[in-house]
Every structure is written in C-alpha cells, then in structure tokens.
C-alpha cells in the first residue's frame, strides 16, 4: 500500500493536526472526540452549521470550516461516519444561541449517528435541525431503501447555507434553504480505479485495465454498472444525461456546474470533462452561470470524476458569491 502515512490508526488525527497547523488563523482542532471548529467559534447570534462524515473525502468537511461556511466538521475514521459524541461536542462548541443545523449526507451510518447526537444536544436545550443531502442519481430512490446517497451537492449546500447563516437568517430559514439546495442538486460519479482504504491495505475492488465503474459513491464502493473504458466525452455524456433528466434541468435554467475529482484524477483531465459538460449543457440551452472544478469531495486517491448540477435562483447565486474564508474555499475576503 503506497501511502504517505505513518499508520492507518493515526492517519486521521495526524492529518487534522496538520490541517490545524496550516490554518491556525481560520480553524481550531479539538481532539478526543475529534472535531474542527472555526477559530472564533461560537459566533454569537448566528445559526451554526455542523457537518461531518467519514474521513478520506478531503477537503470535505474540515477544509470547509470557516467564515461563510461551516462552524464545525466532525471527521470519522476513513470512510466511517463519525460517532455521536463528536457531533454532540461540536454542536455545543459552536452553538451561538441561534440554533445549530446539521448537514448530513444520506448514509445509514451518518444519519443514525447524527440523529443520536441531535437527541443529546436537544436534551441540553440546544435547538438542532438536520437536513439530509441525497443527490446521487446513480442510486434509484425509493421509500423502501436507504435512498440516494449524499454526494457533491453537500459541498454546495455547505457554502450556500453558510452564507445564509452569516447573513443572519434564522435556523428555520437556513434549514429550508438547505432542503431547497438539496432539491435542486443532482450528482453522478464514476471511477477509473479503486482506492485503498488504509486499514484494508488493498483496493476495495479490482478493476481491469480496460474497465470503469459508473455510478460509484464516495466510499470506494462499487458502482451500479461496470463498463468498458470510454473517452472523456462519452463518459461526460454518461454522467450528465441521467442528471439532467432526473430533475429535470431545462432550457433556460441557470445552473452551477461542479466537476469534481475523486482524488487521483488531475486537473488536466478534469477540465477536459468540464469543457465537454459545459458544451453539452450550453447546447441544451442550460446556462452555466457558476462553476466549481477540482477535488472537493474525494475518495482518497481514487481516479475518477463526478458531476453535480445545481439549479440556481437569484438568492442562491448571491449566497454562492458571498465571501467565504476556509482552508479549501476562499473568495470575496
């Protein structure tokens, strides 16, 4: 296993320690239980945003803690949802008296552990709302299943809701906005290679040299289908079409186009995908008015990409453009 780590047991703690050292002006690392808060937390009279999930998706979520985005992030073990005590402590630490929003990706583990944390926090009199992000069109939605996974839209929701909280919106409003972002966001991803979970020490799945996985999640889990390798243009089509059809996104819509690297795919390639996606959408009359391109919600060193579309309204666009000052997203300030 070729990794720049010391041991699978210590990688998460050592990594967030490094993150904290690099960005000590923006964030503060708390350990035992592990969570990351804004350096200036709690911010009085602001709705606080807490997210979290398994590690291995960096910069999400720790890299999104800071002004205009998250107040706290709770990193679990690699690909394993964090435990309730992490979210409970984080929630208490960032509560500024206006309530706390939990932004939860729809995985059974994340949902259950966040629920338990919210119960604990409410028992201490903290107002907590939770919004579950479930935007992955690769997974067929149904009342009878765990439903869709939460993927790329999470990043956008954290940015947009973080700006709303900064602007003084109430907990109910920020939660409703988060629901609305989730309702208007759709994603799909693919993998060229598997990743290696440090504890496992070998690839989660074997993928022959001429095949790829379509419809993968962000935990190294296999996708919906395995197909022969295709060109970047074809892959972009394969990812984009189910997304566009699902909402559906229509001619005249304004969208944010988010092309994400799963970690191992370099920018050179990512911008080829972005260019093609932009071209396809433009041809369909869908206007790309905002973009995000890069490794933002990753799967360790997995090679592959995901595409997220978010249908924007004026409010969301304004909130997207609002200042943000975090380790991984920085603008306007």
């Amino acid at each position: 296993m070729k990794k720049l780590i010391n041991s699978p047991e210590n990688v998460v703690l050592e990594s967030i320690t490094g993150l904290g050292a690099a960005f000590s002006e923006l964030i503060k690392i708390h350990t035992n239980p592990n969570y990351i808060t804004r350096a200036d937390a709690p911010v009085e009279n602001k709705v606080a945003l807490v997210s979290g999930g398994g590690s291995g998706h960096e910069p999400m979520h720790g890299g999104f803690v800071g002004r205009g985005m998250l107040d706290a992030a709770c990193p679990g073990a690699v690909f394993t949802s964090p435990t309730p005590d992490q979210m409970f402590e984080a929630t208490k630490a960032v509560n500024g008296g206006k309530g706390v929003l939990h932004i939860v990706k729809n995985y059974t583990g994340d949902v259950l552990n966040f629920e338990m944390a919210a119960d604990l926090a409410r028992a201490e009199g903290i107002e907590v709302e939770a919004v579950v992000i479930d935007d992955d069109v690769a997974v067929k939605d149904s009342l009878w299943t765990a439903g869709r996974r939460g993927v790329g839209t999470t990043v956008l929701a954290e940015k947009i809701c973080g700006a709303a909280a900064e602007a003084g919106h109430s907990l109910k409003e920020v939660a409703a906005l988060c629901q609305n972002v989730n309702k208007n966001g759709r994603s799909m991803g693919m993998a060229l290679t598997s990743c290696i979970v440090p504890h496992a020490g070998k690839p989660t799945f074997d993928l022959p040299e001429d095949e790829m996985e379509i419809g993968i999640g962000i935990h190294g889990e296999p996708g919906r289908t395995r197909t022969k390798l295709k060109s970047a243009d074809e892959i972009t089509e394969v990812l984009l079409q189910p997304i566009v059809e699902d909402l559906p996104y229509k001619s005249g819509d304004e969208v944010l186009l988010f092309v994400n690297s799963m970690g191992g795919t370099p920018l050179l390639e990512l911008f080829v995908v972005y260019g093609k996606a932009h071209e396809i959408l433009t041809r369909q009359g869908i206007k790309v008015t905002r973009s995000l391109v890069g490794p933002y919600i990753t799967s360790l060193e997995m090679a592959g990409a995901s595409i997220t579309l978010l249908k924007l309204d004026d409010e969301m666009t304004k909130l997207w453009d609002a200042p943000v000052l975090t380790p991984a997203l920085r603008w306007g300030v």
Binding site: T80, Y107, A146
Partner: protein, 210 residues
C-alpha cells in the same frame, strides 16, 4: 436452570471481541464486496475499546455493564453498525438496571428489547439484507426454546443455527437498507456483513453463557 451472572455477560463480550478480532478481515472482505470495506475494522475498534475498560465494566451490575458496552460502541465504532449495535446494548441495558444476574427468560427479553431498538433506529425488516435477518430469527429461536423448557445450552445452540440460516438467507437478497442498497441488483449473491457479525454474537453467547 442456573442464572446468568454479570461476570458471564462480560465474558460473553470478551469472547465476542476475540471472535471479531479473528474474523475482522473476513468481515471487511464481505463489506468490500457490497459496502465500503470497513465493517471488520469498525467492530474490532469498538470491541477493543471495550476490553480496555475491562476493570470498570467487570465490577458493576448488568445494566451498567451493558450501558458501558453500548456507550463504548457508540463512541468508537461509527458507521451504521456502531449506532445499531450500540442501540442494541443500550436498549437491552434498560431492562437490567441494578441486576447482577438474569434468568434465561430475562435474558431473552433483553435481546428482544435490543432488537426493537435497532428496528426503531434503522427501520429495516427481515428480508432487507441486514443484521436483522440474523438477529431476529436468532432471538426468536432462543425465546421459543426457553419457552418450551429447553436448557440455556439448547436455546443458544438453536439461536446460533437460526442466525446462521438467517445469514445464509441474505446471500441471494437485493439489499434495501444500508450501503449495500446503493448497489441494487449487484448486491445479490453476497452475504450481509452485519448479519455475519451478528452470528458471531450468538456464537460467543453459546460459548460463554451456559
């Protein structure tokens, strides 16, 4: 029929920890096929954390012991299994407050209470390809056996068998809950990792509680 002592309960958990340690890679392998390849590591982390607290957990009543097990699992395992196994022991503990021994029948009620907690949290039913598929038939077999006057040994042996059958029944299923559900039809043909770790829970009980 003799009662179950609190030290036996701890021995049960210790045996479970040993079995998980031994099966860790196998459980992870099962989870890699239809999940995210961490079930073995998750469970192992939690049970090792319990062993560290041995001194505290051994010298207390069964309610406190099970609550300690629950809280440790909840705060160290993470993932679906941490919340669910944690809830199982937490709910079970509520029926054992202050008790230093349990009758076989009481033990059955604890298991049922734990199961109900998992179902309430996870909203899965038999057939969804989860730990429930092993846990529910295992508990039912135990209770039925005790009700019909059989020994603890017989009851736990039947529980292991039923859980095992439940585990096997998950193989052809298409998962409807947990991470495996994202795979849709590709989840069929593989046993459920959580059901597999549940079988070990019964097996370690059979080896320690009679």
């Amino acid at each position: 029929m003799s009662n179950i002592s609190s030290s036996q309960i701890f021995t049960w958990i210790e045996r479970y920890a040993a079995q998980i340690a031994e099966q860790k890679d196998y459980l992870t392998q099962l989870d890699a096929a239809i999940g995210d390849g961490d079930h073995g590591a998750n469970m192992h982390r939690g049970l090792q954390a319990i062993l560290v607290k041995k001194a505290d957990l051994q010298n207390t009543d069964i309610g406190a012991l099970l609550k300690g097990v629950a809280m440790t699992l909840i705060s160290t395992v993470g993932g679906a299994s941490g919340a669910l196994y944690g809830t199982f022991f937490l709910q079970a503990s509520t029926l054992a407050g202050g008790k230093t021994e349990l009758s076989p029948r009481e033990f059955g009620s604890l298991l049922e209470k734990g199961l109900a907690g998992i179902v309430l949290r996870g909203k899965a039913a038999v057939g969804d390809k989860t730990m429930i598929d092993a846990l529910q038939p295992g508990i039912k077999a135990y209770k039925d056996s005790i009700e019909s006057g059989e020994t603890m040994e017989q009851a736990l042996s039947k529980a292991v068998s039923a859980a095992d059958v439940g585990l096997s029944s998950t193989t052809p299923l298409i998962a409807r809950k947990g991470r495996a559900s994202y795979l849709g039809e590709r989840s069929a043909g593989h046993p459920d990792p959580g059901a597999s770790s549940t079988v070990l829970l019964f097996r370690s009980a059979a080896e320690t509680l009679c």
